[in-house]
Every structure is written in C-alpha cells, then in structure tokens.
Symmetry: C2
Subunit: 222 residues, 2 copies
Amino acid sequence: MKLYNYFRSSASFRVRIALQLKGLGYEYLPVHLVRGEHREPAYAGQVGDTLVPTLLTDDGVALSQSMAIIEYLDETHPEPPLLPAEPLARAQVRALAQMVACEMHPLNNLRVLKYLVNELGVGESAKSAWYHHWARSGLEAFERQLALLARQRAAQGLAASVYCWGDAPTLADCCLVPQIFNCQRFNVDLGALPLTLAAFEACMALPAFQQAQPSSCPDSAA
Amino acid sequence: MKLYNYFRSSASFRVRIALQLKGLGYEYLPVHLVRGEHREPAYAGQVGDTLVPTLLTDDGVALSQSMAIIEYLDETHPEPPLLPAEPLARAQVRALAQMVACEMHPLNNLRVLKYLVNELGVGESAKSAWYHHWARSGLEAFERQLALLARQRAAQGLAASVYCWGDAPTLADCCLVPQIFNCQRFNVDLGALPLTLAAFEACMALPAFQQAQPSSCPDSAA
C-alpha cells in the first residue's frame, strides 16, 4: 500500500495511526499542501477531492476520506479491531470520530482559514478566535459525550474506559489525537477536559501513536 | 425508535431517508433549531453535541451523528443494505458520504453562518458567496469522484451506476440528496454536474426520498 500524505494534515495523521496500530507497512508519498502539490495533475487526477490522505491499494485503486480509509483497513485487516463488535458500541465510536471529523476539523483546516483571510479580509486575531471557538466548543461537546458514555458504562457495571471507548484504541482515538495535536499547536485552551485528555495521554503512551505523529514523518523537515 | 429531528436539518434528513428506505417506523420528535430548542436541558442533557438528529433506541439509548446512526440502522436492520458487501466498494460509498458530511455541510450549517454574521460582521452578499463557494466546489469534487468511479466500473465491464454507487440507494445517496435540497434552497449553481444530478433525480423518483423530504415533515408548517 501507498499513502499520499502531509505530515501536518490531521486527516493523514488519522490514517497513519490506523496503519501503525495494525502493523501495516506502507510507502509514504508526501504531498506538500502549503506548496499546493495536491492541486497538481499527478495527484489531482487520481481523486475527486484533491485533499489528503489518499490510500493507494496494492491493486492501484485510490481511496479517499480518512474515516472511510480506516474502516477499509479495519475490514481488510481485522486485527486489532478499531471498532467494537456490537452495533450500539460501533455507533458510539463512529459518532465520537465524526464529532471530530464533521464538527471540529472541517472548520479549521488550511483552505478554510485561507478563505477567511483572503476572501473575507479577516485579521489575525479574528482568525485565531474563529479557530479557538470551533476547536474549544467541539472539544467541550466531545468531553460531554465521553461523560455520558462513562455514566452508561458505570450503570452497566463496566470498567471505565482507558481510551475514548473501552480498553483499546479505536477509530475515535485515531481522530481525537490529531485534533489535540492541532489544538496544542494553536494554543487552544485544553483545561477542564479530563476524560478527553486522559484518552489522549493513554494513546500517546503507545508506540503506534508516537510513530504516526507529524514529527516522525519523513516530510516533517522539508 | 424515536428520532429527534428538524425538518430543514440536512443531517436529520439523511437519517429520515435511511429509516424510510428500510421501512422502519419511528416517532418524530421535533427540535426547533432556529428557536434554540436544541440547547434546552430536556434535549441537551441527552447528547454531547446538542445537534440534531439524535436517535433514541427502543432501549432508550441516545445515538448522535447521522452517518453513525445510519450505519447502526444498517447493521441492526440489514435489508435493504445501504452499503455494498465488498470492502473496497464500501470504502468508496463511505467516502462519497463523507465528501458531503465532512467537506460541504459543516461549512454551511446554521451555526457557522450565524458566526460569520454575528462575530465576523460578514454582510449578506459575502455570506452568500461563502455558502456558494463551499457548496459548489464540494459538488464539483463530488462530480469528479463519480466520474472516476464510472470509469472504474466501465473498465470492469460493470453497468453504469443509477444512484451514487450502483443500482440501489446507499449511504452516499442519503447524504447527497439533502445537500442538493440545501443548494436548491440557496440558489447554488447546479450546472455541469450530470452524474450528481442523475443520482439525485433517481433518488427523488423513489417514495422513500419523497416521504423523508422537509416538506413531508410534521414540523415543516411550524
């Protein structure tokens, strides 16, 4: 497999985590977003959305969208699973992932911040306030959701979760960790998010998350 | 089952389509977003993100995030399936759904438009340009992706797709149709999107999509 990738892309980072958790080797193909390499024909001709990441399967099929790629990896390489077995639990994990991927990240990625500045003439402090607003309010919602899930587990007599859901990393952790990295980079207040940060720290204690992080990527020094 | 719902919410509409396609009855619980009912304790205490939709299972568990809810319905009520059987095809359908749910819709929902106006002082025409930019560029990417998939099908000797993927509606159609409704409402240019609009029109010829649409909802006259 090959993965088109940008070291700082949250969505790329999600897929790198999944590949590392499953112990799957892959060729790292850097696409420099800030230099606009994602819009060049060699890349843009392969995928509809010209975003990263794109997974190239061994058969040469290009797959886009990070959560779809991770579920593909989970279905084709089931161990260790990145989703629980039971439908209700699967829905809870997917919903946590989507809280990051559909509510937080889309508002704060590079092309949106560029539009604010270039098309709407938004200044540095208002741009920063925008970033912090969506990131912080999104994480507060995430924390409330983890608290609701924790109460459900307690009511069922289950042990407290170590990660976002249960005692092993899931799709939800693949999405949460890159979001926290971004928040740290932009100095978003991470106070009063105990369950969220406990999950983040449990993840970062694992080699898979360490090896997938931006500073471990071959293009991080470019 | 019960579904917390707002007739104009794209994300609610996606789940209503899935319920109709599967022939599942449900109690419709309206949550009026413009009046802020989603922030009242009776609703907000049940879900972390205080968005709609929320599915209440027969066991009283609240599930959030539309794509997660639809996959839950698909896993618990498999017929008719809303995802193909084969992992690669499932990834392609999920990616189409995520192109809508992670790239287009998050930038154009009510709370984001409100932030533009109230916090950034954006005027009516710039707000409209923002909406049209993300909707139109997102649909152009969607069209390119459908064209890539069509070429793959042709190369494999498969019949052209009737819907977004194949000859039956999937999760991708559940997401596309509400996005097109929104675009029509805000007069987004829908020219030169032949594959996308063909899928939309094939869907709208089905009673399930007709019955799920905003104008069929009990709160549409409120």
